[in-house]
């Protein structure tokens, strides 16, 4: 029989108990599979370790890693009273990812749409295909 230990102290989360001996179906808000891979994915401690590592890793300017974190633990994110240990990491990864993406998009779109009107002559300095032409990257690639 297996029980999950739940740490007290996460505000707002309910204490959950896991199923016993692997019978299918969910009891009382507990999640059976915390990852999007279902039975093939990681569980429990390993999942927590992963979620935590991905969360801290994303601070190295890696919003994509945060996104993968959210995708990976989507069942946790979807259910409000799921694993109270993993959920904060995933939730804040999602928030971080959205923030960084919005910032990046804002800059990118300003650059792409604004073009030379907004930036003036320095636009050519930044645009990738101009840089590529300048250094004749096609040659570099060959």
């Amino acid at each position: 029989m297996a029980e999950r230990e739940v740490e007290a102290g996460w505000p707002g989360s309910s204490v959950t108990e896991s199923n016993e001996s692997g019978s299918p179906g969910r009891g009382g808000g507990a999640l059976q599979w915390v990852t999007v891979d279902g039975p093939l994915g990681v569980q429990q401690e390993e999942a927590l370790k992963l979620a935590r590592n991905f969360f801290y890793g994303g601070f190295c300017l890696l919003p994509w890693l945060w996104f993968v974190n959210c995708f990976y633990f989507w069942p946790v994110l979807r259910q409000r009273e799921s694993d109270p240990l993993i959920r904060p990491y995933v939730l804040w990864s999602g928030v971080g990812c959205l923030t960084m993406t919005v910032a990046l998009l804002a800059w990118s779109l300003t650059f792409a749409i604004g073009g030379e009107d907004v930036f003036g002559s320095s636009w050519r300095y930044f645009a990738v295909y101009d840089i590529a032409d300048k250094y004749s990257m096609v040659q570099m690639l060959s």
Binding site: M1, V36, P39, L40, F71, Y72, F111, V138, L141, S142
Partner: protein
């Protein structure tokens, strides 16, 4: 299980492998069509061009001879590097191998991926700026390296990145001159047969070493999802009492053992003895015969493609007993050379180091078909080259390759040992390319232009 079940499960396993191969080929064809529709004007500098630089003006024999020299040099280099890998593996330099493979994967994703992206940006005049481009590339490459080598990630992400690595390397290979490419493909198919089937072949040795030691070879291997039909709910693992008992007394936990994806679990019965325990009825997967220990995700030094069917031990309570463990590894060698400096550096792309040791679980083996990334790459190179002529050759070659892959998979179940994935597909692909290009295409084109069929 009935015959129908075997066919069903075999069918879905095959689809699980043919789909990513097809996606890889499709992406390469798209890249080729948009970027270098008729072959590149400036062939890439690479190891495959050490000896002979093909010029469009050379004569037939010159081109053929030069191409064969190039291919020979390439195969020799691949062999040498594979032996080097065997030696390193033999001396257990796992950390070094793993680090090196991580580095080479990062180079592929960042450098080649960045290169292809820049080509696309130039081609389609996408007004992106350098800062966001660099940030995105950095994200892409870092998460890719993590996904393929160093960390557990969603299966979809890992598989996706493997396919992308295959696409990038294959696209790069299509930039070689034409004759060199075709001769190289055939040379690699021959090398594959020799390296895998002959007892002295490097890949054979590698596999045997891995089996002996019960370790995984660091390599790039694509593993399809195991068939989910026999997945039982997993008891929550903090108290894996039911799981950790050895397989020999696993009667009660039969239904509770979940298949793992890319995780090797040690079984109690050693590989050799399992066959004695096997009953007559050996089922094919979904309880695909899993190869205990080692060998599961191994393979691919330098891009060897491994095709494996792994068995899943059936709990004694059920009708089917353990099938003799076997692994069929289809291997193929692959090597990419870096573009910098001019051909001197060899990047080995490989790597899937499974974190095997100390899993603390036993009795569960994953059931999955694995195909090494080198196979993906060479299939895509063939189709990409065919795309440089016309789409008719693409269709013909695609069908030939898929037919070859299917027959290789069937042979896998018959022969139950490591098998090279390249030869049948590449041979069929080359034959059909030549037939289509020189017979079918002129025929069709002439018929259309002269309105014989309305």
């Amino acid at each position: 299980m009935t015959e129908g079940n075997i066919l069903e499960s075999l069918g879905s396993e095959i689809v699980g492998i043919v789909t990513p191969v097809s996606i890889c080929m499709l992406l390469v064809v798209l890249l080729v069509q948009s970027l270098t529709p008729h072959g590149s004007d400036v062939p890439v500098a690479s190891i495959a061009m050490l000896v002979y630089d093909e010029q469009p003006t050379d004569s037939f024999t010159e081109k053929l001879g030069g191409a064969m020299l190039n291919a020979l040099v390439f195969v020799i280099i691949v062999t040498v590097v594979t032996f080097l890998l065997v030696v390193l593996f033999y001396f257990r330099c796992t950390k070094f191998l793993r680090a090196y493979m991580g580095f080479s994967a990062f180079m592929v994703l960042a450098y080649m991926g960045g290169g292809v992206a820049v080509l696309l940006i130039q081609n389609y005049s996408i007004p992106i700026d350098a800062v966001s481009f660099l940030v995105m590339l950095y994200n892409f490459a870092t998460v890719g390296v993590l996904a393929v080598f160093f960390s557990k990630m969603p299966i979809f992400v890992t598989q996706g990145y493997l396919v992308l690595i295959g696409v990038l390397v294959a696209y790069w290979f299509t930039m070689l001159p034409e004759w060199t490419t075709w001769v190289l493909l055939m040379a690699m198919a021959l090398y594959d047969v020799v390296a895998v089937l002959l007892p002295g072949g490097p890949l054979n040795m590698l596999v045997e070493l891995a089996i002996e030691r019960d370790e995984d070879i660091p390599a790039l291997i694509y593993e399809a999802r195991p068939n989910a039909r026999h997945i039982a709910p997993l008891p929550n693992s903090p108290h894996p009492v039911s799981i950790s008992s050895s397989a020999s007394d696993s009667a009660a936990q039969a239904t509770q053992i979940p298949p793992r994806w890319r995780r090797r679990v040690v079984t109690a019965p050693p590989p050799g003895n399992a066959s004695s325990a096997a009953a007559a009825a050996t089922q094919l997967p979904s309880n695909v015969v899993n190869e205990p220990v080692n060998n599961q995700d191994t393979v691919r030094p330098i891009g060897i493609s491994a095709l494996r069917i792994e068995s899943q031990p059936q709990p004694p309570g059920q009708a089917q007993a353990l099938a003799p463990p076997h692994s069929t590894v289809v291997m193929d060698g692959l090597e990419t050379s870096s573009r910098t400096a001019g051909r001197s550096e060899i990047i080995n792309i490989e790597a899937l180091l499974e974190d095997v040791a100390g899993n603390g679980e036993s009795g569960v083996l994953s059931a999955a078909i694995k195909l090494g990334l080198g196979d993906f790459i060479f299939y895509s190179v063939l189709v990409g080259r065919a795309a440089m002529y016309d789409m008719t050759t693409v269709y013909a070659c695609y069908l030939a390759i898929v037919a070859g892959l299917g027959s290789t998979l069937v042979l896998l179940t018959v022969w139950r040992r490591a098998l090279p994935a390249l030869p049948i597909s590449i041979t069929l692909g080359v034959i059909f390319y030549l037939l289509t290009r020189f017979l079918v295409d002129p025929f069709i084109v002439n018929l259309s232009t002269h309105y014989v069929y309305f």
